[in-house]
Subunit: 248 residues, 2 copies
């Protein structure tokens, strides 16, 4: 079956207090089982997860890191406030967040917000995705699936891609363990991070600049079975361990 | 505009010597500007990029690594034959390949091939993508874009996703450098790895097991401008440098 990737066009610039799911439902007809992908920055802005740089007083540690990586110390303080672990602080600051995501600058965003303000990730992205899902059901009567997307760099490959930082109504990972291939062999590739694959495609349609498309529908995607353990623990993650040991 | 993600269904199990583009063109009507995503394993099989484990004589180094990471020494020898650098060899073997891709086990695949044979990545995946593109144009008269996809793990997040290892007819990365956001600020996120985002979505539709869908069409995707420098050099890549220093 053909899957459709549909930009939700016509959403006004979101302000704190806005009901983003209502904006989305106003712009297009949502169907049962749609996967609604929402840019975290727009969601965070609607919920007021913003900070004014002018109101942040950097700690000594923030000052030190800011000097190393050439950032505004108030911005680095905001990163430290969000992070539960700093993996490296040079040549850029890479952190883990309490919900498991690992991102440069704790995923804090300068773009698409008025001067002097920054957008932080929602503190509980799984609950945020569930809340968007419920709100859409309340408005439209449809049962849907939701992915909150963010844009993120990666190892080995240049450029950012969209990833999922929250999801609701489906497992993050399709679990093939025990399945067989066309010749009956048990598969080696066993866990597919489907929410990230869909978030990436949605991110392409959203764009990064002034296109103003903070939501994308993925329609006709089949259901899959699996689990929600999308993040390695610090102990499991060999990249993280290697980077921590090598923090310059 | 709605983008369509269309599985190419009905392709027979590919054998060495088969004309995979012709199989694809037989199964659905290709349109101008389609992005045809092809699973590398199917392409490699059609070209005979296969090895028989029984014919491989492992070196001393292959024996040593195989013991550390619990693999067949002949398989490890095949990995060493493909790799141009071993980044780590425990708890799994992670290599870079001459064309720039970094992958576990050099991207060699046991799945969907008859017993005792393994599938290696095409040695020149950019040329492979260009060749598929030309062959489709020859058969259908349509000018298309092509992505060769592979399935790959990543840092920080569990599970594999589809990535591009070859492409033709479009730049790998959409370059936003100098663009502005909705408020006129110069963007921070500046390079989007679009070929990987599309490869991921295609990979979801292909599936990993016995679905037998080695090709997917992405239709109506807009064009983008950018460049092809998808891989970090070893010197630029801080993950790679940290891992190499920490190889156990």
């Amino acid at each position: 079956m053909t899957i459709e990737i549909i930009p939700v066009e016509g959403i006004p610039i979101v302000q704190p207090g806005d009901n983003l799911p209502a904006f989305i439902a106003d712009c297009l007809s949502i169907e049962e089982n749609d996967i609604l992908c929402v840019a975290t920055s727009a969601y965070s802005k609607s919920k007021g997860y913003l900070r004014n740089l002018a109101e942040i007083i950097p700690s000594k540690r923030a000052d030190e890191i800011a000097e190393k990586c050439g950032e505004d110390p108030r911005f680095i303080q905001a990163v430290l406030d969000e992070a539960d672990d700093i993996i490296i602080d040079y040549p850029f600051i890479l952190c883990s967040l309490p919900h498991g995501h690992v991102g440069v600058r704790a995923g804090i965003d300068h773009s698409n917000v008025e001067d002097g303000r920054i957008i932080v990730l929602p503190p509980k992205p799984m609950e945020a995705a569930a809340e968007i899902r419920e709100e859409i059901t309340k408005i439209t009567g449809k049962n849907i699936r939701v992915i909150l997307t963010d844009t993120c760099g990666r190892s080995f490959r240049r450029g950012q891609t969209g990833v999922a930082i929250g999801w609701s109504g489906m497992p993050a990972i399709q679990d093939y363990r025990g399945d067989t291939d066309l010749f009956g062999h048990v598969l080696e590739i066993t866990e597919e991070a489907v929410v990230d694959e869909i978030a990436g495609m949605a991110n392409f349609v959203m764009g990064e600049s002034n296109r103003g498309v903070p939501a994308v529908i993925c329609r006709n995607a089949p259901a899959w079975e699996g689990h929600d353990t999308l993040y390695f623990t610090a102990e499991e993650d060999i990249t993280r361990k290697a980077m921590k040991k090598n923090n310059y």
